[in-house]
């Protein structure tokens, strides 16, 4: 295959300099034209067979990125590219979909993500029809095939979503995504609504499917043990920004950003019973009124005057980048 595009690109999904700002409606005590910067300058790449993870606290913009990647939210700045071509309109997205370059999503809440009035067979059949499969018999056969791939029995096809447990519903959700034969799967907290015992099953299922279909995953989570189990590459987000963006091996063996270090230390450990997890002082700043300089400086032990005044830029480190003045100056 020859590429006419002057910029050589792989078959990947790339977000560069992604931004999302929300305009706030003026109200009592709120002047006109105020904006919330939900996502600021985030770049990431999804490659076949690889898992990229986004971690961070609630409200740091993880889910907004997921929605921008699949086209549920408009993009305020930056670009999303699929195989090098921009996905800047619904028409472009539809074209990519029809060319069988597909991005699918698994949602956080398995109770809201399936139409309560539809049988499982109809839910899967809709996805199959949306990806171009025609003919009742073919759709039926493929439905059963996909259900068995996600570990559900054939009788599941004739049931309604409310007849299943949370973990089973998440399997149905994954089956619907798989039915479209996507190359990219965005998983927005796929296990956070599930019991711990079921979480492992779903994660292992996702891993198996990735091996079988060479899927590219974006895994959004706040659970670092999930990241450790799944991810090849990790982006740590704080207040809408990527503060550390490195390969999983490097990040877990030698975390650089003070925020990443604190996050990793808070993972409970079985080998150190009674260990007091470190505490971060203060709270996540109000995104309406973000701090000057580094967004993390009000809670950072290593912060100095430069951190308070100047926003850090990404600097190259082993396995990726980190945005921190203290790391750059060797103060840590």
């Amino acid at each position: 295959m020859t590429q006419a595009d002057p910029v050589p690109t792989g078959f990947d999904l790339q977000a560069s300099g992604l931004r999302k700002t929300y305009d706030l409606a003026p109200g009592p005590g709120r002047p006109k034209g105020q904006q919330v910067h939900a996502v600021r300058d985030v770049s990431l790449t999804l490659r076949p067979g690889r898992t990229t993870a986004l971690v961070g606290e609630s409200g740091c913009g993880k889910s907004t990125i997921a929605k921008m990647l699949v086209g549920l939210e408009s993009i305020s700045g930056g670009a999303v590219r699929l195989d090098g071509g921009p996905l800047d309109s619904q028409a472009a997205r539809k074209k990519a979909w029809d060319a069988k370059r597909r991005i699918q999503m698994v949602f956080q809440d398995p109770y809201a993500s399936l139409n309560p009035r539809w049988r499982v067979s109809r839910i899967i059949a809709e996805a199959l029809a949306a990806s171009g499969l025609r003919g009742g018999a073919a759709i039926k056969a493929r439905t059963l095939e996909i259900l068995s791939q996600v570990g559900l029995p054939e009788v599941a096809a004739d049931k309604f979503p409310h007849e299943f447990s949370g973990g089973q519903r998440q399997r149905i959700s994954i089956a619907r995504a798989l039915a479209c034969e996507p190359q990219f799967l965005i998983c927005d907290e796929p296990t956070s609504a599930l019991d711990v015992s079921v979480q492992a099953q779903i994660l292992n299922l996702l891993k198996d499917l990735q091996d079988r279909h060479a899927l590219a995953y974006l895994l959004i989570t706040h659970d670092l043990s999930v990241v450790h189990h799944m991810a090849d590459h990790v982006g740590v987000m704080y207040l809408g920004m990527l503060v550390e963006d490195r390969s999983a091996a490097d990040l877990f063996s030698q975390p650089l950003h003070p925020y990443t270090q604190t996050l990793l230390e808070t993972i409970p450990r079985a080998d150190q019973p009674g260990r007091e997890p470190p505490r971060l002082s203060g709270e996540v700043p109000n995104p309406l009124n973000p701090p000057s300089g580094c967004p993390f400086h009000p809670r950072c032990a290593a912060a100095n005057d430069r951190c308070r005044a100047e926003q850090p830029q990404a600097i190259a480190v082993s396995g990726g980048t980190v945005s921190c003045h203290a790391v750059e100056e060797g103060r840590l």
């Binding site: 699949v70 086209g71 549920l72 997205r93 539809k94 979909w97 991005i103 699918q104 999503m105 949602f107 956080q108 809440d109 809201a112 993500s113 399936l114 139409n115 309560p116 009035r117 809709e126 996805a127 949306a130 990806s131 570990g151 559900l152 029995p153 009788v155 599941a156 096809a157 004739d158 049931k159 007849e163 089973q168 959700s173 619907r176 479209c180």
Partner: protein, 313 residues
């Protein structure tokens, strides 16, 4: 995995699911709802089969000698005319049965019209938002600032003005349905819009959008079935309202012509004789109207409570 239960499909299975369900249990155990349902379905059946049930045919030339007969238990009454006769000698019971047929038809057709109109506009307003939403809902607000009966009178008046009095008699039925239906769509539109605003943010709708399912299909196949609960309730209550509206318009003389018996026209023609002592001509149709609308209302009230999980017993 629970694969013990076998798949349940088909109309027979759906029926048995219904009779096993909460709704049927709730219905069985509320006597008021059962009584209301029996009265409503009894009256409806009598009306639907009026041609066979009614002892006389009120459309045949009546015998004027039979006029103004009181009900059979009053002195001067006859066994032939159970509830007496009107000024032209027509049997009041037969008139009521045939009149109820017209009233029920107008009521159902008007509710159907306002449901179709209101649900469609509400779905569109809630789903697309923006200018479309603003335009539809402002029209609804404007219409809501007039009493319903005034809107119906206006529509009725416009049609008879543009078609002339002569054709009005022939068009009376469809015009009445149109007038009542158009005056009543607002509450459906408002309810549906509010539910749509909630549903369209649900993740199953987002999942459909990711798969590039056309908006029209998302609206009518995904969202519509999930918002029909409240519509069924308002529709039931709206039926009583539409039946009363028909009676009111016919009573005011802008509904059906006097030649066509409906509960409203019967009450109106009987009303003229009320003070001369022939009370049965207006009281019996009026009681029927009250029974009909009351039973629908009680049933609708029960349905609203039964379908609302927050008003648990």
């Amino acid at each position: 995995m629970s694969d013990a239960t076998s798949p349940r499909r088909g109309p027979a299975a759906a029926l048995s699911r219904f009779f096993d369900g909460d709704l049927w249990y709730n219905f069985r155990t509320s006597p008021l709802a059962v009584i209301a349902a029996i009265i409503f379905f009894g009256l409806s059946l009598a009306a639907i089969f009026a041609q066979f049930v009614a002892p006389h045919n009120p459309f045949l030339a009546p015998d004027l000698m039979d006029g103004m007969m009181p009900p059979m238990w009053e002195s001067g009454g006859s066994q032939t005319f159970l509830l007496g006769t009107d000024d032209q000698g027509r049997d009041v019971l037969s008139l009521i049965l045939h009149g109820m047929q017209v009233s029920l038809f107008v009521g159902l057709a008007a509710v159907l019209l306002s449901v179709v109109l209101g649900v469609t506009l509400g779905l569109i307003a809630g789903f697309f938002g923006g200018v479309v939403d603003a335009v539809i809902m402002r029209i609804a607000d404007i219409q809501l600032s007039f009493p319903n009966i005034l809107v119906a009178l206006l529509i009725d008046g416009m049609v008879s003005a543009s078609f002339g009095r002569a054709t009005q008699a022939a068009l009376a039925l469809p015009v009445l349905v149109l007038a009542i239906g158009l005056s009543d769509w607002v509450q459906y539109a408002r309810t549906v819009r509010a539910s749509t605003l909630v549903e369209r943010r649900r993740e199953y709708v987002q999942a459909a959008r990711i798969m590039h399912i056309p908006s029209v299909i998302i609206l009518f196949r995904h969202i519509l079935p999930n918002i029909m609960g409240p519509v069924v309730v308002i529709g039931t209550l709206g039926l009583a309202h539409a039946i009363i509206a028909e009676a009111t318009l016919s009573f005011l003389g802008v509904g059906l012509p006097p030649t066509q018996p409906s509960l409203g026209t019967l009450i109106r023609t009987g009303n003229d004789y009320l003070f001369s002592g022939e009370w049965w001509m207006t009281v019996f149709p009026a009681v029927t109207l009250v029974l009909l609308s009351l039973s629908v209302n009680v049933f609708g009230d029960w349905l609203r409570d039964a379908l609302n999980p927050r008003i648990g017993k």
